[in-house]
Amino acid sequence: MAESPNRSASVPPPTLALNPQETLTADTFIRGLWKENPVFVMLLGMCPVLAVTNTSINALGMGLATTFVLVGSGVLVSLLRNWIPKQVRIASYIIIIATFVTVVDYGIQAISLELYAALGAFIQLIVVNCVILGRAEAYASKQRLHTTLINSLGMGAGFTLALLSLGTVREILGNGTLFGVPLFGEGFQPWVIMVLPPGGFFVLGAWLLLFNWLRLRKERKVMQGSGVAANAG
């Protein structure tokens, strides 16, 4: 009940500025998974979400790579936060993010060249993923190291989870496999469009529909509950 009016009435930014140091709670981590999920709630970083979720392996690889960059850049930004003048902060964040993207680029090549080929340019494009710059600007630059670490891990996990929920559905429908393992018999006719770009939009749309429906249902239940309570009182 208290949440929705708060969000619309532009209260959160000043509160965060006045009370900059968040205390570490379970919510610091879980927020990224659910309430502030970068993909399903904030709708950030849509480009890799749609482009590289045609198989679960690609989705997992991309999710972990992004998590690494999120955590690495978050930690460094948080460590240097008192040293970075406001005027050059974006340039500083971009250098830091680009560094970790380069590291992850080499790392993936060293781990698997097949995965590297499958993800293609989207690894380098993590640099411009707005989830990461957004986190650096809105969170890491204001918060202490340990809360930043946990929050970035949560955001990364939420992003990975979202990519996986698209990747698994698209791979099962479009290819009949999950993590490369065939699920159905010989007779399975793959729904090819699901692994093509339009499939990304279809599946993302379906997930958003489901989550919004769940959220609305919950809100309606809360409303009804309070209505009943008010009547009873």
């Binding site: 240097l80 080499y106 090819v192 093509l196």
Partner: protein, 232 residues
């Protein structure tokens, strides 16, 4: 003026403009940390990546030339000469594969053709005795799943590459007949590739890749066959 200051109590609280040296210090410091990190990671991962690349190429060569157990790397230089692959020499790679008795099993080279969704990179196997392409494996492609990716799996299409004629002209400088992809069901000559129905553009990419690669590699192979036949 003094009135203004009273009306806006926030203005004096704002810190003075950041001196330039602070910005320079920050950017310079961050750039240094970044550079150090990148160099360290590059230094550590480069040997691993090179080794992975080597294994991947070797696997592909042994797959297009079954029975091969060893390979030697050569390069076809821009002038069309064949030289052993060494660091510092540039050219198109050519792999000579040998069987267990150290006899030349065949050669492998890589061609690229523009496909439906970007370049299609293919490794071809070449048999110097029959003077024809005897195998293929797509190394890299973004072709549409279900259509274009049949290049590597459609048995009827792969039959094209069992003995695709790549004979040279009498001077030995170029292919006698360029390798071309023709419409499905109209293949009449041994240097033609019968396209896959529904994936004509991808099939044409494969034909162009084969023609381009053979045009470069085959004259060099036939001229220096003696060198290639010796494993060392």
């Amino acid at each position: 003026m003094s009135n203004d200051a009273h009306v806006q109590p926030q203005t004096p609280v704002q810190p003075a403009a950041t001196p330039s040296w602070a910005m320079l210090r920050t950017l310079g410091g961050i750039a240094m940390i970044s550079g150090l990190l990148v160099v360290l990671v590059e230094h550590y991962t480069q040997p691993i990546i090179a080794e992975k690349q080597r294994i991947l190429t070797e696997k592909a060569v042994f797959r297009v030339l079954p029975g091969a157990v060893a390979k030697h790397d050569f390069l076809v230089t821009a002038e069309g000469r064949l030289v052993p692959a060494e660091p510092g020499v540039s050219g198109d790679p050519l792999y000579a594969a040998y069987d267990a008795e150290e006899r030349l099993k065949g050669l492998a080279f890589i061609g690229v053709g523009a496909g439906y969704a970007g370049p299609v990179q293919v490794m071809f196997a070449y048999d110097p005795e029959c003077r024809c392409i005897v195998g293929s494996k797509v190394l890299k492609s973004n072709e549409t799943p279900g259509f274009g990716d049949k290049l590597d799996s459609d048995p009827e299409f792969l039959r094209n590459f069992e003995a695709l004629d790549a004979g040279l002209n009498t001077e030995g400088t170029a292919l006698a007949n360029p390798i071309v992809t023709v419409k499905h069901g109209t293949k009449t000559e041994p240097w033609q590739i019968d396209a896959i129905t529904g994936a004509t553009i991808s099939s044409r990419a494969m034909g162009r890749a084969a023609n381009q690669a053979a045009e470069r590699a085959v004259p060099a192979i036939q001229r220096d066959l003696a060198t290639l036949s010796q494993p060392n």
